[in-house]
């Protein structure tokens, strides 16, 4: 019941908020904040009760949904999804508090959308049935579409349509692949099933070197959906538009969580479902990831708009995650997963900070700033800390993730590693150059404008940033506090990649897995049997 609770509580809360009269904006804000904190508390319970010694699915819940086609309501949690769920539940209250003043129109609709979006995102991370996953995956588009389209900037309609149609194209291809897999399961076993655990057992024919064979086509159908979501170069063009036009909370949730749905998809679906194809085509994805790293960094360097710069830095950072995942070793995968969380924290924080300064000056153009450090000291300190995290300075979270990814990459090939390292340098270059131009040097036209004196961060804004800053150091100094939970799952994924299977762990959630026919084998036994 715990997973259902954490998934659907936001939806219930959204319905409750929809019943509040829309003039009561303060009440709506307070209620949303309290509600999202409740959801966060539930997810903390999940962490506390999580058994980190096993790679099997925990707290699994399974009910038939459309039994005619083997579709079930099947939720499960493992080390890969745990922190992504927590990241979602953690960022939502931060966003609600962060948008306390910036969202002033249609407050009710905004908070309802945000909570529905939270349900969709958590659902995608927890769904262990392919169709259920698809439903959540697509459902997440709708509230995001409204968030960008209603509360966004001037070109919001263009941006939001582009975002929606781009993502839809990819995910429909994935839907076809899912249907194919369902029939493949029916042909081999004689029963319909859309459960991922059953899909993992399928042997899908693969022919190296040719394109028109089932596994390669399925691999690319899934990969396209997730590559658009990540987004990987050259499918990234919707991202800068969406980020620039989105309101601050929209950008935070987009960068913080929604992009992770793509990389999570690679970890959960693409690599374990199509191991041969993923292994064979890994070079392509590493190559595109590397291009994304360098290209994103170079384009970020020349952006005149701070938000666009951060958006392109996302392209670059997501490139790291892809490279890490397709390095196909424990370092790379661990780093990839860790970098997902880091990116959620630090890019989310950057977008929040950019939003705060935008609320004061209504401009994001770098040339109009300069000398902000004197005018806004607290803001400057926070911004610098987050910048350090973004460019992976040791002791911050970014360092751990990027270091692990680079370790993994060097293990694959020195050339890949060298190219990836240039991304670190370029990343430092564009971020620090931007910081120099915005915070130091002579005061810019907006900063010395005496008619509109700038006010430093107020208590609410500091409270918004505080948990993020704490996390930057916590994750940077004690990565094992987090990685211990994921270790078993990642090692299981990498070591048994060619015949990946997931089982349901019963002891963590007694009674919840009743009615599940899969045999219960602990992960350790499965791994040993493989050797």
């Amino acid at each position: 019941m715990l997973l259902t609770a954490v998934t659907f509580l936001p939806l219930v809360f959204a319905l409750l908020i929809a019943c509040v009269p829309s003039q009561q904006t303060r009440m709506i804000r307070v209620a949303s904040l309290v509600f999202s904190l409740i959801v966060f508390a539930v997810s903390v319970v999940l962490v506390a009760r999580f058994d980190r010694s096993t790679a099997a699915l925990q707290f699994a819940e399974r009910l038939p949904w459309v039994p005619e086609l083997g579709i079930s309501y099947f939720l499960g949690l493992d080390g890969i999804s745990l922190w992504l769920v927590v990241l979602t539940t953690f960022l939502t209250p931060v966003i609600i508090l962060g948008s306390w003043e910036s969202i002033s129109t249609k407050v009710k609709g905004f908070h309802a959308s945000l909570l529905i979006l939270e349900t969709a995102m958590i659902g995608s991370f927890l769904a262990m049935d392919a169709i259920l996953f698809y439903v959540f995956f697509e459902l997440s588009l709708v509230p995001m579409y409204f968030m960008v389209g209603i509360w966004g900037g001037t070109r919001r309609v263009y941006a939001t349509l582009k975002f929606f149609i781009y993502t839809m194209l990819g995910s429909l291809m994935m839907l076809l692949a899912i249907i194919y897999l369902m029939y493949a399961h029916h042909d081999t076993v004689g029963l319909f099933s859309a459960s991922l655990l059953d899909f993992y057992k399928l042997q899908i024919p693969f022919v190296a070197g040719t394109f028109l064979n089932p596994q390669t086509l399925l691999f690319f159908a899934f990969a396209l959906a997730f590559a658009i979501k990540v987004p990987m170069f050259p499918l990234h063009t919707w991202l800068p538009d969406a980020h620039v036009e989105a309101p601050t909370p929209g950008s935070v949730i987009l960068a913080g969580v929604m992009l992770k749905m793509g990389t999570y998809g690679f970890m959960r679906f693409v690599i374990p479902l199509f191991p041969e194809a993923a292994g064979y085509w890994a070079w392509l994805f590493i190559f595109l990831g590397l291009v994304g790293i360098v290209y994103g960094a170079l384009v970020a360097m020349v952006q005149p708009d701070i938000k666009k710069l951060v958006a392109y830095s996302s392209v670059s950072h997501m490139g790291y995650i892809i490279v890490g995942l397709f390095a196909m070793n424990v370092y790379g995968a661990t780093g990839g997963l860790y970098q997902m969380l880091n990116h959620g924290v630090s890019t989310g924080a950057l977008f929040l900070l950019v939003g705060m300064i935008y609320e004061r000056t209504h401009s994001r153009e770098i040339v109009k700033y300069g000398g902000l450090a004197k005018a806004l000291p607290i803001f400057t300190i926070l911004f610098l800390i987050v910048t350090m995290s973004s460019i992976a300075v040791p002791m911050t979270n970014g360092f751990v993730g990027e270091f692990l990814i680079l370790l993994g990459t060097f293990e694959v090939s020195r050339v890949y590693g060298v190219v990836a390292v240039t991304g670190v340098v370029l990343g430092a270059a564009y971020m620090l150059w931007m910081v120099k131009r915005v915070f130091f040097g002579p005061a810019g036209e907006l900063v010395k404008d005496d008619h509109h004196p700038l006010v430093d961060l107020n208590l609410r804004e500091i409270v918004v940033m505080a948990p993020l800053i704490v996390l930057v150091f916590w994750m940077g100094l004690f990565p094992n506090h987090f990685l211990d939970y994921s270790k078993a799952s990642i090692e299981h994924l990498i070591q048994t990649r060619d015949a990946y299977q997931l089982t349901i762990h019963t002891s963590a959630a007694p009674g919840a897995a009743s009615g599940v026919t899969s045999e219960v084998v602990s992960a350790a036994e499965t791994a040993e049997a493989r050797k």
């Binding site: 038939p64 949904w65 459309v66 039994p67 005619e68 086609l69 169709i131 698809y134 439903v135 697509e138 459902l139 588009l141 709708v142 579409y145 409204f146 389209g149 209603i150 919001r156 309609v157 939001t160 349509l161 929606f164 149609i165 839809m168 194209l169 429909l172 291809m173 839907l175 076809l176 249907i179 194919y180 369902m182 029939y183």
Partner: protein
């Protein structure tokens, strides 16, 4: 022999009840000296007719019987589709009760025509014989021609009726000619006889193929499949909106069932060329409908083109049913889709109907601007309906498309499905446009005037149903599956 006749009459008793009730309002009008009876009474009589027919159908359901020497079949599909048509008609009657173009002095005649048209549809659904199919199509169409012209002040309405009549007659002639060819080659017009000989005749007998092609074209006209789709936008645009809603849903549902019955044979398995032609018709129908809909500024015309596109999607399921080895799966997906399509189309046209202030008004996209600020519940409902038409989960429209595509993938028709997917992506663009207008514009919204209680109810009810049945599509699917397998 008399016993047999009695049984046959009992089987068609829903039709008799419907026809008797449809005459009642007109008779009342005649006996009251051509004074229009109270519209509430007329509406009530219409509902009684529909519920009587529904009740009788339900009482007879479960029977897998034929009547009148096998010309009429009463099976699961008949029952299920009859319910659907009755439901659509009830909703369409509610819409026309509210609507400015149909509310006027001739509501009694309107109800008569509507129920007679339903009579034709039920004949079409029950038909197991090409001649009976033809009678059904004609009964249905003749009433529709007049219904299209019901808007008294509107020139477009007359033009639509005239176009529909001329082209419809032409299509009927082609259909009839096709029947002649088929009768000439098979020696029978009863479906089981035809379907039995399809396997041998389709590859050897050119005359049979010509006949089959002509019959297919006749069906294609009624469900607006390329290349006989061109009348659709004009007629749908010109006809009074409740009639458009009725045509777009009930006609399509009943005609597709008859079309489906023609494909219930293993014999098509080797007819690769015929399959190719139908596949391209499906692809072009989807493409033309969707691409043309993108360019529309008139909400009603956009929906007309989108309904062409939806015919294309249904063709995908039809082809999977006819040319694969699993007719049941294909037929289930088609019927499920018809059900979901009917719900969402009725709801969307109901919104159009609400916006029409006068008989000759057209609803431009711009009129939806800012609607969300004034009518939040209505906007939300329209959003759900449009997202369902676009096939976004977890709405009923998504599951409809999912089952269609599943049926086609089961038969390895990957290219066809790929075209379906590409078209779904195109369609998202124009289905999102009204949503953009409603939510992402700060203009002062248009005020909705006039009586529209039942129309509003329809919009909200269909939207709610789409979400609820989307989340619980399993019982519906099971019911459809049962009705389909009952047949064989």
């Amino acid at each position: 022999m008399n016993m047999q006749l009695l049984q046959d009459v009992v089987l068609v008793s829903p039709l008799i009840a419907l026809f008797a009730m449809s005459l009642l309002p007109v008779m009342m009008k005649v006996f009251q000296g051509n004074r229009e009876p109270n519209p509430y009474v007329t509406l009530f009589i219409g509902f009684i007719g529909l519920s009587l027919a529904t009740g009788l159908t339900a009482a007879l359901s479960g029977a897998d019987k034929t009547a009148f020497s096998g010309a009429i079949v009463f099976d699961g599909i008949t029952a299920w589709m009859s319910y659907l048509v009755y439901l659509i008609t009830a909703v369409a009657l509610m819409l026309s009760f509210d609507h400015v173009a149909t509310r006027g002095r001739q509501f009694a005649e309107f109800v008569f025509l509507m129920l007679s048209s339903v009579l034709g549809m039920i004949i079409l659904i029950m038909s197991n014989d090409l001649i009976v199919t033809f009678i059904g199509i004609e009964t249905m169409s003749l009433c529709l021609y007049i219904l299209c012209a019901m808007s008294k002040e509107d020139v477009l309405s007359k033009e639509a009726a005239f176009k529909y009549f001329i082209l419809g007659s032409f299509a009927s002639a082609i259909f009839l000619y096709g029947i002649a060819f088929i009768y000439g080659t098979v020696g029978s017009t009863i479906f089981p006889d035809i379907l039995e000989s399809v396997g041998t005749l389709i590859s050897t007998n050119t005359l049979f193929v010509v006949g089959l092609a002509m019959v297919t074209l006749g069906f294609a006209f009624k469900v607006s499949v390329f290349p006989l789709h061109a009348w659709t936008p004009d007629v749908y645009h010109g006809a009074p909106t409740p009639v458009t809603a009725f045509m777009a849903t009930a006609v399509k549902a009943s005609t597709f069932v008859a079309f489906l019955r023609l494909f219930e044979s293993e014999g098509y398995g080797d007819a690769v060329q015929f399959q190719n032609v139908l596949q391209w018709l499906a692809v072009l129908t989807m493409l033309i409908g969707n691409v043309a809909a993108v360019m529309q500024d008139n909400f009603k015309r956009m929906l007309a083109y989108s309904s062409i596109a939806h015919s294309g999607y249904i063709m995908v399921g039809l082809i999977a049913a006819g040319f694969g080895n699993n007719f049941d799966a294909g037929a289930t997906s088609v019927i499920f889709y018809l059900f979901s399509y009917a719900l969402m189309t009725l709801g969307t046209f109901a919104v159009v109907a609400m916006f029409e202030k006068a008989e000759n008004s057209t609803v431009g996209m711009n009129e939806l601007k800012g609607m969300a600020n004034r009518y939040p519940l209505l906007s939300l409902s329209l959003t759900v309906l449009l997202l369902s038409l676009a096939g976004i989960p977890p709405t009923l429209g998504f599951f409809g498309k999912f089952y269609l595509f599943s049926a086609a993938i089961e038969q390895d028709m990957y290219w066809l499905v790929l075209w379906g997917v590409i078209n779904s992506v195109i369609s998202v663009y124009y289905y999102l446009r009204p949503i953009v207008m409603m939510y992402m514009s700060d203009d002062v919204p248009v005020e909705i005037v006039g009586t529209n209680g039942m129309t509003r109810l329809t919009v909200i009810f269909t939207a709610a149903l789409i979400v609820v049945l989307g989340l619980m599509s399993s019982p519906v699917l099971k019911a459809v599956q049962r009705s389909v397998t009952n047949l064989f």
